[in-house]
Amino acid sequence: MASVSVQEDDFDIGEEIQKLRNGRTDVGAVVTFTGTVRDVGGTLQSMTLEHYPGMTEAELERISLEAEQRWPLQGSRVIHRYGTLEPGDNIVLVVTLSKHRHAAFDAAMFLMDFLKSNAPFWKKEQTGETASWVDARETDETALKRWQD
């Protein structure tokens, strides 16, 4: 039921929802989260995402299975891009399907929180002549802790 992809190509949110629903009518809630390349100061030229092929897919599958064990989901989809992206480009998509909204919302947030702290991706930002690796945020670790009880 869980489906994960790690790809260079962009994704189409509508298409992914349609594929996940696959014509079924017992779904009551579809939640999507899309993460995009942010350029707050107007100086970011591009962002390059490096990942660990093999482990990335394995880790996203582990996280998706964990979400399915915690909530009554009718389907889930995680797509994470790698390679060089520009401001405004899509980075990550999470879709969750459930009969009721709470499970779909919570599972989507759980998937993103775990992905941020566990999926082996590293972002490098190019601004002008300077390329620098993005620092990990402590708030991501804090976000993870709320699911650990």
């Binding site: 990942h51 660990y52 482990m55 394995a58 994470h80 980075i91 990550v92 992905l115 590293w122």
Partner: protein, 83 residues
């Protein structure tokens, strides 16, 4: 064992991966990191601050006290920043 490096640790070491035999006296991730720090100044510069060093053994996140054996795929990288 195969050792893979990612992100600024990969850049600091100057290689994507290296194949080394299990050194004498190395039985944990922590021992392995100590051994690698002795290999070169480049290794030492990016691996000595252990708080920034994350490790996966056979594609699973592990703590630094996790055992390592010859034939393991060990990946060394900074905290992840995807999503």
């Amino acid at each position: 064992m195969i050792i893979k490096y990612f992100s600024w640790i990969r850049e600091g070491v100057g290689k994507n991966e290296e194949d080394i035999g299990l050194p004498d006296g190395v039985s944990t991730v922590s021992n392995l990191l100590d051994h690698l720090c002795e290999k070169s100044a480049e290794h030492s510069r990016v691996l000595k601050e252990r708080v920034f060093v994350r490790v996966a053994v056979n594609q699973t996140h592990v703590d630094h006290d996790h055992p390592v054996t010859d034939g393991d795929e060990v990946a060394i990288f900074p905290p992840v920043t995807g999503g």
